[in-house]
């Protein structure tokens, strides 16, 4: 699959998805990334430093959100630049032992800019959890065939 830049327009929607997150997901991300900050897995520690509870790694949210772009582009290597600001934490409730999510992250993407000379499209992501924008200026630049 390849996307032709000529067929894209600024503002065009590339889709959306909903990501369910549990405390187990945060433990997996900690192990996979090597980021063992206890605010992401220990309730007492998190509240002790003034957080509402255990929060997701910002890098978990960033990494999960970009999958919408990767799948749209058809090749993970097409994402040549990806940036964001972390504006609000994503508290993840302890739902261990139940099938419930501890948080839900809603991701949607739209074409923010096109550069025909460079052959790139910028996808702007909107990333929301519990009604709050958790990432701001989340932008992925995709190289198109």
């Amino acid at each position: 699959m390849s996307i032709n830049i000529a067929g894209l327009t600024v503002g065009q929607d590339i889709g959306s998805r909903s990501i369910a997150v549990t405390r187990t997901d945060l433990v997996k991300y900690a192990g996979a990334s090597g980021d063992f900050n206890p605010i992401h897995w220990n309730e007492a520690f998190a509240t002790g430093v003034g957080l509402p509870g255990v929060i997701a790694h910002g890098m978990f949210t960033m990494g999960a959100a970009v999958q919408l772009v990767t799948d749209w582009a058809g090749d993970p290597a097409a994402v040549v630049d990806f940036q964001t600001r972390f504006t609000k934490p994503v508290p993840v409730a302890d739902t261990t032992g139940t099938p419930e999510a501890g948080a839900v992250i809603e991701v949607s993407g739209a074409i923010g800019a096109l550069d025909a000379d460079a052959g790139t499209a910028r996808v702007d992501l909107t990333v929301v959890s519990a009604g709050q924008k958790v990432l701001v200026k989340a932008q992925a630049v995709v190289r198109l065939a």
Partner: protein, 156 residues
């Protein structure tokens, strides 16, 4: 404890080599809920023209945060890790990270700005792939990552 303003402009040279393994790419991909076959299936990655499994777009954070640890754990930095909040992050890929890559990261402290009783610190990791020789002279730029962390002061 206050943040040492002299950190600005400091660099930490490339330290240990990070060997990118297939299982680590698969594990990291699962951890960010990625399902693209190029992260899991060598044949699928090769069909897209890659030499081996392709890492997800944020995989370089593993290497970058190891480099950042040199600064955070530096007793001269004055950074209390439990008061660190990640403020922003950027990845610029010069080429994709592929299983089999042998990566090193050079850390640069680009900015230190006092904020309240704390500080905003911006770091940049220049990530290179080594050739087979391990010679520091033969290295290919792979990614540049930049990251800002807010170290909260007391009462923030």
């Amino acid at each position: 404890m206050t943040i040492n303003p002299d950190l600005q402009g400091r660099s930490y040279p490339a330290a240990e080599v990070y060997d990118v393994g297939r299982e680590k790419i698969r594990e990291f991909a699962r951890a960010v809920k990625a399902t693209h076959p190029a992260h899991f299936d060598v044949a699928a990655a090769k069909a897209l023209g890659h030499l081996d499994l392709v890492a997800p777009p944020t995989f370089a954070i593993i290497v970058a945060q190891r480099a950042d640890a040199q600064l955070i754990e530096d007793p001269e930095s004055g950074i209390d890790f439990s008061r660190v909040v990640h403020a922003d992050q950027r990845f610029t890929h010069h080429r994709p990270i592929i299983a089999g890559d042998r990566l090193v990261a050079e850390l640069h402290v680009d900015g230190v700005r006092a904020m309240g009783g704390g500080a905003m610190i911006t770091t940049r990791s220049e990530i290179f792939a080594l050739g087979n020789s391990d010679s520091a002279d033969v290295r290919e730029p792979v990614a540049t990552t930049t990251s800002s962390i807010l170290v909260r002061g007391e009462g923030q």
